[in-house]
């Protein structure tokens, strides 16, 4: 029941929100609040599997579900302030809630075709949100996003078909494409088909995740969509796409083919870091800069997964950090844009509170202590060193240093450089500050001490991926 409610509540909320733009903010907060409390309930009392095991909640799914639900709640509170300044349009809240429903379906699906359906839902839900401004540039961005994502989604479907083929003739009681049966019967899977399935799922969902070289939609999409939409994509959509790759890795690892799965994961991870470093340096648009930073962080996610061992734990921790930090940064940048402050400089004077949040976000996103990303990046680095890959560790450190320089130089200039025209400080709405401030606090707490239950959950999720907790 609880599992069905997690999907149905936002779905019904989406249907109920259509039209009536005046009430969108309150409606979003209400539905997001109900969803978040359902997630809290799932933490306290783990729900049983329903629909013949098609829907079930395991640690890996619960991590993604929690991250998406929490980030969505923050974005919903932010939307209250946002909608007072900007027109949202009739479907604004509906599409956001449709994403929440689809993302919840991805998180609780243990049937891989159903997971794919949820993934397609998340892709479609964002299209009208990117096209929010309804001009040529956003049309171009949404077109690029849809064409590239849809090809990725199609390849992921082919990978899912391959996985069904790898199962061969089903024995009695074996359910096709149900994760639990795939994992327990992994030894019987046909290796050639399983390998093909893994490659297609990795490339397909990797396109949605925005791994280089399939990342080309990301800068345009994040650059043109409203800040809260971009934040939700960079933190929430990436988490869902990562779950798709994690599921493929889970099955492949269970079949004893980890040695096949790991090299491509590491390669995509390092390539993404390299592309991010190349494009972050000298970037002139803050949103595009953040998009390349997102390419960097999804690269770290698959790098940790590919290194295995403590790396898988580092990846899970990084998933949580990434959602918090990306939400924080996009919302803070969005505040500057809403206040019509010049992005060229003087933000700390023009929008003091958002400026401070942006400064916190800068240190958090570059993995500086005492923020959470420092810990997760350190864990992934330890996995590289411990696994006997000093060159991977060295490459990762070097690229992270380059990216640090690129991001820091741009954000510091935005904050401190003298503004072209000195404008008086703008009064900032509380609705626009509470959310990002909560995210900043969250990522700080994760850097100081990870709460016990969360640590256990991440360790369980990592062990499903063939990793161990440090």
């Amino acid at each position: 029941m609880l599992l069905a409610a997690l999907v149905l509540v936002p779905a019904l909320g989406a249907a109920g929100a259509y039209g009536r733009p005046a009430r969108h903010g309150a409606w979003l907060v209400a539905v997001a609040g109900v969803h978040l409390s359902l997630v809290a309930w799932a933490w306290l009392a783990p729900p049983p599997a329903i629909l013949d095991g098609w829907l079930a909640l395991d640690p890996l799914g619960l991590v993604v579900l929690t991250v998406v639900s929490a980030l969505f709640f923050v974005v919903a509170t932010y939307a209250v302030g946002y909608l007072r300044r900007e027109r949202g349009g009739r479907g604004f809240a509906s599409w956001l809630l449709a994403f929440l429903a689809a993302a919840s379906l991805v998180a609780v699906s243990h049937h891989l075709a159903l997971l794919w359906v949820g993934m397609e839902g998340t892709t479609l839900a964002f299209a009208p949100l990117i096209f929010q401004r309804r001009d040529r540039r956003s049309l171009e961005a949404v077109w690029k996003y849809l064409v590239i994502s849809s090809v990725g989604i199609a390849l992921a479907l082919l990978g899912t078909f391959f996985l069904a083929t790898a199962q061969g003739d089903l024995g009695p009681g074996v359910r096709p494409l149900v994760l639990d049966d795939l994992v327990t019967g992994a030894a019987q899977l046909h290796p050639a088909w399983l390998k093909a399935a893994f490659v297609f799922l990795l490339v397909g969902y990797g396109t949605k995740l925005g791994l280089a070289p399939m990342h080309t939609w990301k800068p345009d999409t994040y650059g043109e969509s409203p800040a809260l939409v971009a934040g939700l994509m960079a933190g929430g959509l990436t988490s869902c796409a990562f779950l798709g790759i994690a599921r493929a890795t889970e099955v492949t690892t269970a079949a004893g083919l980890a040695a096949f799965a790991r090299p491509p994961l590491v390669a995509f991870g390092l390539l993404s870091l390299a592309v991010a470093a190349a494009f972050v340096i000298g970037q002139s648009d803050i949103r595009r800069l953040l998009a390349y930073s997102s390419v960097e962080h999804v690269g770290l996610l698959v790098l940790g997964l590919g290194l295995g061992g403590v790396g898988a734990y580092g990846s899970m921790l990084h998933l949580v950090n990434n959602a918090l930090v990306k939400g924080l940064l996009f919302l803070a940048v969005g505040n500057a844009a809403l206040a019509a402050a010049s992005p060229r400089g003087g933000l700390l004077r023009a929008v003091p509170a958002s400026g401070v949040l942006l400064l916190v976000g800068l240190f958090a996103v570059t993995g500086s202590p005492p923020f959470g990303m420092f810990l997760s990046e350190l864990t992934i680095l330890r996995a590289a060193l411990g696994g006997g890959h000093p060159w991977i560790a060295a490459a990762m450190l070097g690229l992270l240093a380059l990216i640090f320089i690129g991001i820091a130089s741009m954000i510091l200039e935005m904050l401190y450089a003298p503004a072209a025209a000195a404008s008086p400080p703008v009064r900032e709405s509380r609705w626009l500050l509470v959310g990002p401030a909560a995210l900043a606090l969250g990522v700080l707490v994760l850097g100081v001490a990870i709460p016990g239950p969360l640590q256990d959950l991440l360790a369980h999720a990592a062990s499903a991926l063939g990793g161990v907790a440090p």
Partner: protein
Amino acid sequence: MQHLADLVLLLVLLTSFLILGTTRLTTCIRAVAVQGGLLGVLPLVLEPQWSAHTLGLATGTILVKAIVLPWFLTWAIREAAVRREVEPRVGYIASLILGVVAVAVASAVATRLPVPGDHPILLLATSLSCVIMGLLVLATRGKALIQVVGYLMLENGIYVFGLTSVDRVPFLVEVGVLLDVFVGVFIMGIVVFHINREFDSLDSARLTELKD
């Protein structure tokens, strides 16, 4: 039935080559419609005993892939007034040669992978060829409408592969119909884009008028 299935699969391949080699948009759309119709017939010739499920799949496929989507594409051409011919980044001869390479690669892969069930090996080869040729059209053609046709080819290849698991995994092939939603959204996007462009040019024209 085996020979009939092989014949249908060969015709599917031929329509793909027709799309690669043609210069006219309308021919492309007709070819992809014929391909959709062939795909609708395919489950009927693959399964000797027709169940209600097979019949439903065939009817649904013909309806969506051979009638609705091609009609929608033709409507978009008229609505958006796309008159110009296809402008490829890679020439037609080169595309055809790449298509042959695609079939060769797909056949080489297909012979190495065990074909599930007792399906003909040509099924796997055709499926992978269509996927590769669809990606080829998506990557090399500049026009949005022809890219949609390429996406349909890619999708058709996936559908052909899905037919191998029809009897083992229920509703898996039917899930693929969700990809058609993308096609619908693309076509709407093209129409919106063209309407938008009309508005833009209208606006700028009016601005210069006011200046005079």
